[in-house]
Symmetry: C2
Subunit: 409 residues, 2 copies
């Protein structure tokens, strides 16, 4: 209860107040897009002189840029226009998933600047080999970023399974157990780029990062809470409450793919039986529709095509998977009462066929008729919500919150 | 994102700073149990003079009491001893459940001072009649509180089902739909006590309040999050994260009793089929054990007796209910990754027989072997965790946080 004991008269030193205010000013400019010093001063409640001094420091550090253009905004007096820098500090996200690696570089404004995706099957190969390949792909993206004068300050890995403190505790679909992923990746990347200082490497569960990308870029900022599911070879999930990820005691919350549908159902790679993944994962869906379950993205495209053509077997497979999804989701909604459930990954394109079956289950099983099935609470994710972007944008948000921590030495 | 824009130099007026600091001092005394002015000053980081002035105001308002006893605590200099007042402002909680009404009065120190429970079957009677009876019981407890010089400042109703803004949207086991419970109760209570000002009446789901009581009095303050289940005629639930209830978009989170176990199972009063309540609620348990399902508390006592005597049918019923509980809990644990799952209500006494079966399911179904079944993460609730106490203590915590709002006119 110590947090109760913080008198209003803060004891923060001048330097930490200045550091806090630098982030305040940088966020204000980012949120406005374009702003004058006077406009920023009005918005953050500091004096014009204080803001000018903070702006000079942010310009010198390469966090802001200035144009000669004058601008008479809400604060009246014209002035030169400030923007968040389109060069300099940036974030790089690297999603290593079952059958692809995707790299994204995001600038301080939150804009995608480089995207490189390679479709490779990462199952079966030793983790060090998979991570070395991911490092090679990331190194190529770093070259592109450098040509655009972007300087990523950190790499964040997006990984399937249970991820904590740089380590993958278990990723059943990759066949990984206790893999020190951040360390292996960092070492491989440093070996590829001997002439530059090593980049810090962090890591996070991919569904968590995709949910954050959906929150930040998919228009969900107004929601009090949502549940995010991503259909891949596995079924990942994340819970967002009050604009923050719910991480749980070990950082492993959101594992909706391993909620049991049928206690005596087929064995799951996680060691349990009858998990949702066995009914609504990509492989189960393709198999039920009569498509090669290892056909990957091409198989999913084929499933969409067949469903659009009215193929009965494809439609039945999607209805069945949607029903199982809806059944598990109804339990999660009864437990969490979220504003919305967002379906990403392969579910996004399959929503026209999966969605109605899932909504029917939700409408009949969510307590007190709180789910009408027609209120749009079950929705497809936006295209914005992918894990690599969430990883890169998360780094950038940390830079904007505390630019001093990321100033060039 | 406006909350980002609060400069460290607060603009709060002197009066609101003083109000904040009054709560700070009152909490400090409550947490210490006994304290001197110097000790409080050291703890909250205000000057001795400022604390003395705040203490005078709290003494005058009846929030603190002082004894002549001198005391040389951590701050060195002896002084008179301050305690939270054992008379004056208090909270009263009234749990209206399926087969009982329980009233609790808690003083500012968080101690139970009056408890009155009546075992009455509230099913079938019109809601207004049930609430009028609850008001009569509460009025008797208020007489006892008055004799102890306690002055409850608010009544909080603890109600089963979906509760929001004073209204029970649905309480299937009571047969209530859209009952304006707080209004009906307040009117009935005011009619019984015509000579005193009407007490404000608030309301909350009973499992949420029981979970808060468990958090505050059951030694769970150190946990990052836990899931609370209460076995009654219904199965209620609550999710606590970071010391706060997770309420959800409509305030209806925690309805674990209506998570589906078997999609084609028996009809539930909520309108769905195969909900957990149909397998692990009190009635289902008694029925499976061959005991009259309407026998209430006596039936539960009989079930405990039979299980302790090794009665095979009782043991099988408890194993089966424990298995179903464990199955649903494994899904909730995969989704939320809580530190602990706490079982209250009738489950508390039945833990020796229910617990192992539930733990077995959890150990085999929680991802990555994170549930060993031997780590005590599944536990019986303490005796402290009941809803009426949580309701009363919640009021008291609000008084302590902002005593000015509750000062006598």
């Amino acid at each position: 209860m110590n947090s109760d004991f913080s008198p209003l008269a803060g004891k923060a030193g001048r330097e930490s107040v200045r550091r806090h205010n630098l982030g305040l000013v940088l966020r204000a400019v980012r949120d406005e897009g374009e702003a004058t010093r006077a406009g920023v001063a009005a918005r953050v409640g500091l004096t014009r002189a204080a803001v000018s001094s903070l702006v000079e420091q942010l310009l010198a550090g390469g966090f802001l840029s200035e144009s000669g253009k004058t601008f008479s905004g809400q604060a009246g007096r014209p002035g030169t226009v400030l923007k968040v820098a389109r060069t300099g500090p940036a974030g790089i996200g690297v999603e290593v998933n079952i059958d692809y690696v995707s790299v994204c570089v995001v600038d301080l404004a939150g804009t995608d600047r480089v995207r490189l995706t390679e479709y490779v099957d990462n199952r079966g190969a030793p983790p060090a080999e998979v991570l070395a390949r991911a490092a090679r792909i990331a190194a190529r993206a770093l070259v592109s970023a450098g040509e655009q004068d972007l300087r990523p300050v950190q790499v964040r890995l997006a990984l399937p399974g249970l991820v904590s403190a740089g380590t993958v505790r278990q990723a059943p679909n990759l066949g990984w157990r206790r893999v020190a992923a951040a360390g292996l990746f960092g070492k491989a990347l440093a070996a590829l780029l001997p002439d530059r200082p090593a980049l810090p490497v962090s890591s996070e569960n991919e569904a968590n990062l995709a949910a954050l990308a959906e929150l930040w870029f998919g228009g969900l900022e107004g929601l009090r809470g949502f549940l995010y599911l991503t259909g891949e070879i596995g079924v990942g999930g994340a819970v967002v409450v009050g604009g923050e990820l719910l991480r749980g005691a070990h950082g492993f919350a959101g594992e909706i793919g391993h909620v049991v549908v049928d206690a005596d159902g087929p064995e799951c790679r996680c060691g349990s039986r009858g998990c949702l993944e066995q009914y609504a994962g990509q492989s189960a869906l393709l198999r039920a529709a009569g498509i090669d379950e290892d056909a990957g993205a091409a198989g999913v495209a084929e499933l969409e095509r067949r469903a659009a053509d009215g193929d009965e077997r494809a439609l039945a497979a999607l209805r069945e998977a949607g029903t199982m999804l809806g059944r598990v989701l109804s339990g999660a909604v009864n437990l969490l009462d979220p504003d919305a459930v967002v379906l990403g990954g392969v579910y996004r394109g399959l929503m026209p066929w999966l969605g109605p079956a899932a909504d029917r289950e939700l409408a009949s099983r969510v307590v007190s008729g709180l789910w009408s099935g027609e209120d749009g609470r079950l929705r497809a994710s936006s295209l914005a919500g992918d894990a690599a972007r969430g990883a890169a944008a998360g780094i950038v948000r940390e830079v904007v919150a505390d630019p001093v921590a990321y100033a060039e030495a």
